[in-house]
Symmetry: C2
Subunit: 495 residues, 2 copies
Amino acid sequence: MAGAAQEVDTMSDESNQQLGITVSKRQNMSEWYTQVVKKAGLASYAPVKGCMIIEPYGMKLWERIRDTFDDWISDEVDNAYFPLLIPESYLEREKDIVDGFDPEVAWVEKAGNDEELEERLAIRPTSESIIAPYMADTIQSYRDLPLRLNQWSNVVRWEATDTRPFLRTREFLWQEGHTAHASKEAADEEMYTRLDQYARLYEDIMAVPVLEGKKPEHDKFPGADMTTTVEALMPDGKSIQGGTSHNLGQSFSEAFDITYEDEQQQTQHPYTCSWGLSTRAIGALIMAHGDDDGLVLPPEVAPIEVVIVPIMTGDGTDDDVLAYGDEIEEELAGFRTEYDDDQHKTPGFKFNKWELKGVPLRIEIGPREMDDEEVTLVRRDTGEELTITIEDLTETVEEQLEDIQVALFENLKDYRDDHITRAESYEEILERIGRKRGYVTCAWCGDEQCEAEVKDQIAAEIVMVPFEDEREEIEGSCAICGEEAVEIAYFAKNY
Amino acid sequence: MAGAAQEVDTMSDESNQQLGITVSKRQNMSEWYTQVVKKAGLASYAPVKGCMIIEPYGMKLWERIRDTFDDWISDEVDNAYFPLLIPESYLEREKDIVDGFDPEVAWVEKAGNDEELEERLAIRPTSESIIAPYMADTIQSYRDLPLRLNQWSNVVRWEATDTRPFLRTREFLWQEGHTAHASKEAADEEMYTRLDQYARLYEDIMAVPVLEGKKPEHDKFPGADMTTTVEALMPDGKSIQGGTSHNLGQSFSEAFDITYEDEQQQTQHPYTCSWGLSTRAIGALIMAHGDDDGLVLPPEVAPIEVVIVPIMTGDGTDDDVLAYGDEIEEELAGFRTEYDDDQHKTPGFKFNKWELKGVPLRIEIGPREMDDEEVTLVRRDTGEELTITIEDLTETVEEQLEDIQVALFENLKDYRDDHITRAESYEEILERIGRKRGYVTCAWCGDEQCEAEVKDQIAAEIVMVPFEDEREEIEGSCAICGEEAVEIAYFAKNY
């Protein structure tokens, strides 16, 4: 195809090599990830180890994820803001919580002229223990239920090891929803509703297929009756927990004395839920679709859907080509478009730059396109080129963006489905995870000890257990110990 | 006027008295403020003294302020997110900053299994010292300028006394813009641009008139060349600083070694600016317009512009009235509307509730309105009632909302203009502020000592000094010491 790209191959700068990704995703995903995060302008390191600076392009991704989800929940859920600092005694009222988070808490003991505080304050690792007392003040009658609150905020968890931008940072941004309900059933419904919304956010917006399920008993959120999760398989065969939604039962309402009067004037403890999704989602998004040229973004989440690059040849047509670009940009007003008319950079430099940043579609326009009233479209995901007339422009762009969104999802889903395998024995679990990674499912007795045996051997754990009404029939006994099986376990290495 | 309100007077609940505001704004503004904040559902106290919980209705106000301003700056400014925790050595690189904020810093010295950190970390009181090193990494050439970053975040300043929700809290939400420019002039332009946007935000959105000016030399932001401010006069005659915009000169770029190569390949330090506006704006908004029935919100910032209250009489027309309300709600789809069709509360209760929450317009519909295809409109600011036909509904609502927006602004502006008085001597300054409060202007030599004499006597300070090109001619000598005058000082008591 005689697109504009050919004309500029000879113009590529040598320096592009340094600006681009220098390792293969397949061969060294860890180093590849680090390079993409930095070189695509998503995040950079902060002076405090394990903290990150979210750079403008990364922030735009987070804002799209945030605004989409916020829009989905805003009919039912009220945003609020709760304090960063939580007195130690509040954390301790819910012993499970303090036990769960103690090793990760950052403490403030001095403030204001270096004065020692009477009680030390935790920087919130999560806000159940400060929102629960507010709920206790707010809820009096069954008419006050359900109560649904959400906050978008930063939290701090002092991870000891393996910090990575987005994936595991000592400070991260998230939303945390906190709700109260009159019955276990209503709380369950809330938990599943938010979990489904997380699944939609991954699948429909980020084009990342997920499995929905619950965490094993021993891996639940501290104090929860049930923890549910969305899990996504990354191209290196490791699973990532994409968001969690918990039914906390009555443990928080009892510990924090949240009560309401029911229709029969009886005092009751409500059931509470919490659900959270963090900037970690961006880490999953990067790994899911990126390639050796950098980021690949699904159109729905891309800050820029289409970039227009004019090809200037210096043969007297440059001004006309630039004006043609303005026309194209105007034509595409309904899309998130960037017109890169910077005259200090070569087209080759720009191609590499916007590929690195994962912009789904590139439009190239040179003198030839201008004369023929055409443009050349290049897809980021496949590299396919397409020359179309300007009359077909918006329609084709629309179609191509939809195609890309679907293709990214389907590719990853095929890969994921191909990496769920069944094991009948301990040896098979080890062998399958060792050889192919992905999810290895087996019948399981529910005992933590059986998981530990696999974990010790091969550092894979049970990342989720399918919901009862969605799982296949349990056949045979526990693949590890041979006792009666009560669950299907999904073993995987994970982030 | 035979509006629906008359019909329901007898239905008012006694409990309304407790739910409503019980003190007069004029007689006890401080207690009035506390009651409005709590009873209108804007904020409540957190367990840590001086911190607040921003409740859903308060959060909606902040979201409107945030989204409006974010929209105004988004063409030029990129949002990013910088870490909460700043190493002490970073703060110390800008000695002026650490001196300025030291008494207000909360310190983290232990984190993760209670381990002592190698270097203690400040919870950001502001982020110049962590953004400047990022700028140093990002800026290489004059082509990288201007660089404009902004973040929406929480900050902590450990105020010792007088904490009040929104007005002065130990943790608050804000935006902080940080920019770098090639020349002092470009930095000045940035500083004034953002200051003007703050003024627009107060005047056009919050209907709060402001004065723009600069802070005296001795009251600038630590390290700044110039600090500018928007100041609003509250109905108690005290001024509130509504937002500040600083030209930091080269002090940060020198301290943090931010350099760029100019067009002549010379290494230069850029000029930097910072500018911030916080949840304090909500405090000003509450005080500016509220009355003895509670909050009064200008339509532009109101989460709900119009509330519809059906009057049920129990005479068999209730279902029709409710359906008529649905029709009205549909008619008003272009406005932020709440249809309060809760059948467990009386209209009187609802009138009080929505007045307390400051909703600009109330629509009452009873059987009479329904029969006549009319509605009764009641303005929150004046209490005026207006009966109109349904054909005129959207147009009248639109007009009334515009009227309210203008009236709130003009009222406060008249009051403010009436409270700027001129003093020729120290005694006159004291006398005028003592008698009438407001702003007392005088010729001033520029010496901090002259301000101190007023401050010691009557707790008023120089809240701002008009810009040179906007001020009246300086006549006479310093009103306090009699030396040569170089500025016009605006003295006021302030928040």
